[in-house]
């Protein structure tokens, strides 16, 4: 079965006064129909720019290059801006962190939902309205026909995010890119929204790219995980593999950093990753993580490391063998 989206060797470059910033450096991954790929990493790792590059929505001045951006049967690299605009919101939909900035405050919810469909499909407005009501009910909004007449500012944050999801679904997209969709929401609302997203993905057989920094969200909703660090994927695999046997020292470090109720004890120190992300201006020498890695040795600072596949769909980017990496994780956990 071919993947829904196949990204190969995606680069983003931004020329700055100080040199060329390379925030995404050779990212490759695939998303399958009905599956969720989670791209996880800290701020500045390039996860959001990766998604914007796929949509060709990069900020002004940024350049993208890739060997392939296969989507369905076509290659997104070959499409011009008009064809891309036909695709956005239609075949591929995006959900952002702050729904207030993505909804137009001057139009009603109903107007915006209907427009999302009318822009791409030749249907009657009544039909569009019917679909809007159907989808609002689908995302758990009661009294949908009345909601259609409301403006975005009349809704709470959780409701707005539900409206955003409904809007993303208007054209029945094949792929949804959700960039930190629940970061601005309260925990109870976050759980509800993620629950909904998972159910809708199953029902509509969509592929989902979920971009987040929250390992808890990743664990509960993703099928596959790609961990990004300094513009590169440092580890990828199934969600069970990543959490049961993280290989890259960065992934292992991240897992030790987060407090887990019932596991981390009060008064005990959490793990931490000392140091800072290297500057992404110009070329990097050696492994990007070597300056913060407790297992780094001489070769790490000079040799560039490739993403090595150890099993189908399981890869990591480290000079150490997978066995050595797993052993390191056990030793760190024992301490």
């Amino acid at each position: 079965m071919t993947a829904l989206l196949a990204v190969e060797e995606l680069h983003v470059e931004i020329p700055l006064a100080l040199g060329t910033l390379r925030p995404v450096r050779g990212v490759s991954f695939e998303v399958e129909r009905g599956k969720t790929l989670s791209i996880v990493g800290e701020s500045g790792c390039g996860k959001s720019l990766t998604s914007l590059a796929i949509m060709n929505l990069l900020p002004r001045g940024a350049r993208r290059t890739a060997t392939r951006l296969g989507f369905g049967g076509s290659d997104l690299l070959g499409l011009d801006e008009r064809e891309m605009a036909d695709l956005r919101g239609n075949e591929i939909a995006m959900i952002f962190q702050e729904p207030m900035t993505s909804l137009n405050p001057a139009f009603t919810i109903g107007n915006q939902l209907e427009e999302a469909l009318l822009r791409h499909r030749k249907v009657a407005r009544g039909e569009a309205r019917a679909r809007a009501v159907y989808l609002l009910e689908k995302v758990g909004i009661t009294a949908a026909p009345e909601r259609l007449r409301q403006y975005p500012h009349q809704l709470s944050g959780g409701l707005r995010q539900r409206v955003m999801i409904a809007m993303a679904l208007m054209c029945g997209p094949k792929l949804i890119i959700a960039d930190e969709p629940t970061t601005a929401l309260d925990v109870t609302i976050q759980a509800q929204i993620l629950h909904l997203l998972a159910a809708l993905r199953r029902e509509f057989e969509m592929g989902v790219i979920l971009i987040t920094h929250d390992l808890g969200v990743v664990a509960r909703i993703a099928d596959r995980v790609a961990v990004m660090y300094a513009g590169e994927i440092v580890e990828s695999g199934s969600v069970e593999e990543i959490f049961a046997r993280p290989l890259h020292p960065y992934t292992q470090g991240l897992m030790r950093c987060i407090p887990v109720p019932g596991k981390s004890r009060r008064g005990e120190h959490l793990g931490s990753i000392p140091g800072m992300v290297p500057s992404l201006i110009g070329a990097l020498r050696g492994c990007a993580f070597s300056n913060r890695c407790s297992h780094a040795f001489e070769r790490c600072a000079v040799e560039s490391v490739a993403l090595g596949e150890i099993a189908p769909g399981r890869a990591y980017r480290c000079l150490l063998s997978a066995e050595a990496c797993a052993r390191n994780a056990l030793e760190a956990a024992a301490q």
């Binding site: 800290e42 925990v187 609302i189 759980a191 969200v217 664990a219 897992m255 959490l270």
Partner: protein
């Protein structure tokens, strides 16, 4: 017995909100009758959704807002009896966003030393060594003394904010979402630092957070707020083991621990956070509560005390109190 280092007695805070051009102004009770006592060396976690009043409560504890009614006492002394310097020596804040909590036009040394200058503590020549000592203590390199906030990373800025809060050696530090603007790897460093400082200086913390994992990690006691009221309060381990109030139960169920395969729980909470201008009748949680009974809409629940714990819920009126477990 010494009085608690911080005590809040039936504090209420109302804001007047204009209802529109032709409507009268209406009262919004951001904090509606909160009582709390924090003992020296305790870490009180304050959790709740946005809009539940936890930030308003924090601003009142800092003396930045006056309560509409009720009193706040530090070591038995009412807050209004304390002068500026006295209050600053008792309580200091650490805010959420290290980008807006530091004046961008001031050097790090002058930000940390601000309390010393304002209250004229010690002589000018003593300030620098004291500031540098505090920088060492929070893990900031001394070379940042003359740097400006824009030259520092988020984690380093939060260390500056902590140093500024601690230089007066306050008794209580109010941490309002101290790590939620930080990256995961930086968050753990700041949490470790807060824990070390608490032990070394015998500090008392009030930690406000929506991140229950952070609260569980730091706090000795936890108070759960909903719509301006504390609906449950208990010792941390007990609260996480046996949450009594249905809202606490929903909150805990919503915590997504990094355990694959468990999926996302359905909290059955309903979506509508109530409009605080028109609070629901009876128990403020009843419209969302999966266990609501007719009584809940009619009458506000009383404060039920268990050994060391408090819960405001009708489910404990008779059966619950006897069994010590919710009837659900």
């Amino acid at each position: 017995m010494t009085p608690p280092v911080l005590e809040i007695r039936e504090v209420e805070r109302r804001f007047w909100v204009s209802g529109g051009a032709f409507k009268a102004t209406r009262a919004l009770s951001a904090v509606a009758g909160v009582s709390l006592a924090v003992r020296r060396g305790e870490v009180l976690g304050l959790v709740g959704e946005s809009g539940c009043g936890k930030t308003t409560l924090a601003r009142m504890m800092l003396g930045l807002l006056q309560p509409t009614s009720g009193t706040i006492l530090f070591g038995g002394e009412p807050i209004e009896k304390l002068d500026r310097a006295g209050l600053a020596r008792r309580v200091q804040p650490v805010f959420q966003d290290p980008y807006s909590s530091l004046n961008p036009r001031k050097s790090i040394g002058s930000i940390i030393g601000l309390p010393l200058r304002v209250h004229g503590l010690g002589t000018r020549s003593e300030w620098r060594p004291r500031i540098e000592e505090m920088m060492d203590r929070v893990g900031l390199a001394r070379r940042f003394y003359r740097s400006y906030p824009s030259q520092l990373s988020g984690g380093q800025r939060q260390r500056v904010a902590i140093a500024r809060a601690l230089i007066m050696r306050p008794e209580v530090v109010i941490c309002d979402e101290p790590t939620s603007a930080l990256d995961v790897s930086v968050q753990s460093q700041i949490l470790n630092l807060l824990q070390d400082l608490q032990r070394d200086f015998n500090l008392t913390y009030v930690v406000i957070s929506h991140n229950l994992a952070v609260v569980e990690h730091l706090a000795t006691r936890v108070a759960v707020m909903y719509l301006g009221r504390i609906v449950e309060e208990n010792e941390t381990t007990a609260l996480f083991r046996t949450p009594r109030h249905p809202y606490t139960q929903a909150l805990l169920a919503s915590v997504l621990t990094p355990e694959p395969g468990l999926g996302v729980p359905d909290t059955h909470l309903g979506i509508a956070f109530p409009n605080p201008l028109e609070p629901p009748s009876g128990c403020p949680f009843h419209p969302r509560c999966p266990h609501a009974i007719p009584l809940c809409a009619a009458q506000a629940p009383e404060r039920h005390r268990f050994d060391g714990a408090i819960a405001e819920c009708h489910l404990y009126d008779d059966i619950g109190q006897n069994s010590g477990k919710p009837m659900i």
